[in-house]
Symmetry: C2
């Protein structure tokens, strides 16, 4: 041991991009050709500590801007004592969202806020590894008062006070040991979107939907919103394959205005969709409330692009949501997601996280598992999204068994990517991209360059 | 003339920062030490065209991230024919907000959206210069149908349809010639914030408030929100100096939650504040509505951090605002501000723009002047914020006469900074910063470095 406390010495950043657009994995009505990417960071210390890993998910171009934003936060992190940061990640979180100059670039939204989330999540990965626990367990076993101290209540006290949060967390602790045992045994329910990408043809949809049911999933999701006739056909195909007992969610990825969202959702109602996800702008609280009122009993879900606790709070206050979809890497990391989970618990709205992308399943499972074990105490009407790609790039990938997420047991936030994947897919210098770009730069391939010019 | 049409050949970017924190100019309850900055760009062509200038205003750290975001847009701009872009800036605007990969980083908010605004505004600067008109005049004389085509109605049709927008613009055109003449003669009313920065002592506040009245302003603004006793004292001082006939607006810069905003505003009511600005989070439509109901007759104003037309729309739908404060460089540029001006006109809410910073007065005056000449036809209860610093860095700076903004007559958007200012204040290599950073890097100055480490 050195005589001075160990400190964080580096925030190393990586621009990692996977060429997913080549197979139309992830294609939807707003995002026809995503290249799933991660603006990735590693916290290093001068002690014997493990590394802390964190990232923001993007879909290609602009991942470099996201990396620059993480880089712009490093002066808040480098030099901080590791013990102190891990004992109170909320202190760093508050410093990050409170940096008045950087705050101007949001506040608490978009590129800068996602960068904060990536750094904060890396700290929690480090803290959980040092505690020797998977993050869900660290949170579920933490002192409720300490957890309340991790939350920034600014702008949400009209919906949730610290005292109310403490009450919810103390109540949630009752019976936690039994739920931990059940979670370790059965896992947490998932649903799959792998069958329903918009770029897949009916044959592929049929095959993958049947496979989803065979794999034990009780809910699947289809992307909709580009063409109503196509959507009707695809919903009919999917319903015929899975039968009446399996839930089918549909997801418009923000494609519509209010009137069109209502009309389109009603046109799909005969196929009994369970929820309509992202029917319109994620900023539009009032539109979600109007759509929800009009399309019931179809439920309204959103959240993957809801940028902070203030918007989620209003969605709940306005009765705009039946299902709240947190994302592990969109808001300000674990600390802000604790606030959002507590708000959802207060309003009695189930949380069904957004996942997929790069590593989002790995991260967000921890938050739902905490929610089950030590906050709401139930998995009823709660499912974590699952998409079956890119997991092999992670050191502690999610394990799905009979349609359930198996509870992670390795210490940390399951955030670390394999070193060889980082090496291969770093843009533009990694081995994959260097070869690919050389190929694209051949004169006969000129038209295909534009997509990667940024 | 070359045989092929001229094209845009470059989007040159500059990270420009002014050391305003040294004098506490611009200090408020959330932003104690801003270094007013611009993420600046110049469009260049291969023809005989003038340059197009645009920028985003930031307050220091993170300006580099903003520059990176502008850089990430260049593939949408470079290579486009100049004639085509200037004939239809809306087409470029839609391509920029529709880039699905970059859209993921918002959507339509924060760093990426401000970068889009900077590029779009630069195109309008170029278009107005080529037309030989100041931007306000180009807009005021444009065909209403063409203006409607410049607007992206996605997510706002529940509040404003293209047909309604066209009706408003056609109605606004009646009597425009007379208003143009009056505008050129008298200018557009302004108000000043220069007296009221939180870092100024009472003596400076007294002196500057008296000066504001002597200069012909009929409204001043004080920053509040850090300490209630101080605010009471400062409001008393200001009211005593200006008398009952001058409006005093107060501005909390997002400092409060709902209950505190109501309590604090009521505590200042005896000094007859005209509006309370940014009482809470700019994302919080419902909180603004609740505050407005509670503090009337004090008006509620916000907008400088409202990130797009969707949030402004909801503020209007919810009756959350008495005064709508557009910012020229926060949303997606002129095109999105046209939508916001039309929404405000539809709901009958006066627009009083946010300005100050770097070049925001120069830009936003054009939008208010268009609003007066060819949309609402009135300046009643409408004032443009004015702050008297950094104008000397612009080639076509605002001119204030008897408390009014003089209508610009030079072609363009008044966006161009003096080349020598760009040279001197480019960070970190410009002559000012190179000398300053060398000074700061002396071992005895180590503590002061952190603020500029990003």
């Amino acid at each position: 041991m050195s005589p001075t406390p160990a400190r964080i010495t580096a925030v190393d950043t990586y621009d990692i991009r996977f060429p997913t657009s080549r197979e139309l994995d992830g294609s939807d009505a707003m995002n026809p050709d995503p290249d799933y990417s991660a603006a990735y960071l590693v916290l290093r210390t001068d002690g014997d500590d493990p590394e802390g890993h964190g990232f923001t998910f993007t879909i290609g171009r602009g991942n470099d801007v996201q990396v620059a934003a993480i880089h712009a936060l490093r002066h808040h992190v480098v030099g901080r004592p590791v013990d102190e940061v891990c004992a109170d990640p909320g202190s760093l979180f508050r410093d990050l969202i409170g940096d008045s100059q950087l705050r101007w670039l949001g506040p608490e939204k978009g590129v800068m806020h996602m960068a904060i989330g990536a750094v904060v999540n890396a700290v929690w990965d480090l803290a959980a590894k040092r505690a020797g626990k998977p993050l869900w367990r660290l949170l579920a076993e933490a002192d409720p008062q300490w957890l309340v101290g991790q939350i920034d209540f600014r702008y949400i006290t009209d919906a949730l006070t610290p005292a109310q949060a403490l009450h919810l967390l103390r109540r949630g602790r009752q019976g936690a040991a039994g739920r931990t045992a059940r979670l370790l045994e059965r896992g947490y329910p998932g649903y799959t979107t792998s069958a329903g990408w918009l770029g897949y043809d009916d044959e592929k949809l049929t095959r993958l939907a049947a496979q989803a049911v065979a794999d034990g999933f009780t809910q699947i999701k289809l992307k909709v919103g580009a063409d109503l006739d196509d959507d009707v056909r695809r919903c009919r195909v999917a319903r015929a394959v899975v039968g009446p007992g399996i839930r089918i969610a549909v997801d418009a990825n923000q494609r519509w205005d209010t009137a069109e969202a209502i009309r389109w959702t009603k046109a799909l109602a005969e196929f009994d969709p369970y929820w309509i996800e992202e029917p319109t702008s994620p900023d539009d609280v009032l539109a979600h409330a109007a759509i929800r009122e009009a399309v019931a009993p179809v439920k309204v879900a959103t959240g993957e692009h809801v940028h902070n606790r203030v918007v989620f709070k209003q969605m709940l206050q306005a009765g705009a949501l039946d299902v709240l979809q947190i994302d592990a890497a969109r808001v300000g990391g674990v600390n802000e997601n604790l606030a959002i989970l507590l708000l959802a618990a207060k309003y009695g709205v189930p949380v069904c996280p957004h996942a997929g992308g790069v590593g989002l399943c790995e991260l967000v499972q921890h938050l739902s598992m905490f929610d089950y074990v030590a906050l709401t105490g139930t998995t009823e009407d709660r499912v974590i999204e699952y998409v079956d790609h890119l997991h092999d790039h992670f050191l502690d990938p999610v394990v799905i068994r009979d349609g359930h997420y198996t509870a992670p047991t390795a210490p940390g936030f399951s955030a670390a990517m394999r070193p060889e994947s980082i090496e291969r897919y770093t843009f533009p210098g990694g081995t994959f991209w260097a070869a690919d770009l050389a190929q694209q730069n051949r004169p006969d391939r000129h038209d295909q360059q534009k997509g990667h010019a940024a």
